[in-house]
């Protein structure tokens, strides 16, 4: 198989857009998700040799070493990893169930760390590779009802900066992409006046789309992104300007 990128949370929203955009370049994709959505199925059918789906619950941390091992065994050494899978429970902290906090931190923080740990080993041996972690503008701006989610994204940004320093001399770049509000299933509850107000305040008068954010991921994965590491690329139609 051609050089490939592992994309998590690939069944819908931004993950699906990242798969689509990555496949449009010369890279292949190993798409991880809990469910094989009809959209991802169509994408696999369009690229039968270059888009492979693997069912995985990434919050099951104990299963991750074996999952990574099986990916490397089946497809060879990965070129890149895009940690996109995340949950975004919203609600005030004072009444958020502890199990929800635990689940969010596992999927949004620990899972990307472990996937990076096990998949970057192959990149070390290749002396090249890319890790892109999907953050959010919320990591820096804050948002009412998203404190735990914001903490998880800020954790990813800190993780990425230090890891970039650790693996830079092996030719591996590590970056975050921080999208603003996008219309995906995750932000589906954001409606009406709140949504209109975010659009109104944005310098470009619109929201960034999943395609906009996916294009930045593709850029970081490409050769053109080879001099960028340890940073966060914001794609928010100017909301945080």
């Amino acid at each position: 198989m051609a050089e490939y990128v592992v994309v998590t949370g690939a069944s819908r929203g931004l993950g699906l857009a990242i798969c689509r955009d990555t496949l449009a370049s010369d890279l292949s994709v190993v798409a991880l998700a809990r469910t094989y959505s009809p959209e991802l199925q169509s994408l696999s059918e369009a690229y039968p040799d270059r888009c492979h789906f693997i069912e995985a619950d990434l919050a099951d941390l104990d299963a991750l070493p074996a999952l990574c091992k099986s990916i490397v065994k089946r497809f060879g050494r990965p070129y890149g990893l895009v940690n996109n899978a995340a949950v975004g429970h919203d609600g005030v902290l004072a009444t958020m169930p502890n199990g929800e906090i635990d689940n969010l931190m596992r999927l949004n923080v620990q899972s990307p760390m472990l996937l990076s740990k096990y998949l970057l080993r192959s990149m070390l041996l290749n002396r090249r590779g890319r890790i892109v972690n999907i953050s959010s503008i919320i990591a820096k701006t804050g948002f009412n009802g998203l404190s735990v989610y914001a903490a998880s994204k800020a954790a990813l940004e800190g993780f990425s900066k230090s890891l970039a320093r650790e693996v830079g001399k092996a030719g591996i770049t590590v970056n975050c992409v921080a999208p603003g509000y996008m219309q995906t299933d995750m932000t589906g509850d954001l409606q009406g006046e709140k949504l209109a107000s975010i659009k109104r305040r944005s310098p470009l008068g619109r929201l960034a789309s999943v395609e906009d954010a996916a294009a930045m991921v593709s850029f970081l994965l490409s050769d053109k992104g080879s001099a960028i590491t340890g940073t966060t690329m914001t794609v928010d139609a100017g909301s945080t300007a």
Partner: protein
């Protein structure tokens, strides 16, 4: 090739790949972090051995403290290989 020889060969390969100068000879008491490999080289060694031997004994045996000497390192791989036989 026994496990000791496999590890030494992998160390040489990794040293070359990461532009490190490996000390010679590597003996059982050689401290891994003074063998010429830096901490990233050490990580590459684990990755290389996982490809060659199909095991990552540190994860599989849930080893909490990484070994200091070459002999301890080899012993953990021997233990890991032993376990995969059963």
């Amino acid at each position: 090739m026994n496990i000791e020889q496999t590890v030494i060969r992998a160390m040489r390969g990794v040293a070359e790949l990461s532009d490190c100068q490996l000390i010679e000879p590597i003996v059982p008491d050689t401290l891994l972090l003074q063998s010429g490999l830096d901490s990233l080289g050490y990580a590459m060694l684990v990755a290389q051995l996982e490809e060659e031997l199909g095991i990552d004994p540190f994860t599989e045996l849930a080893i909490k403290i990484y070994p200091a000497t070459f002999a301890e390192f080899v012993a953990i791989y021997a233990q890991g290989l032993e376990q995969t036989r059963y």
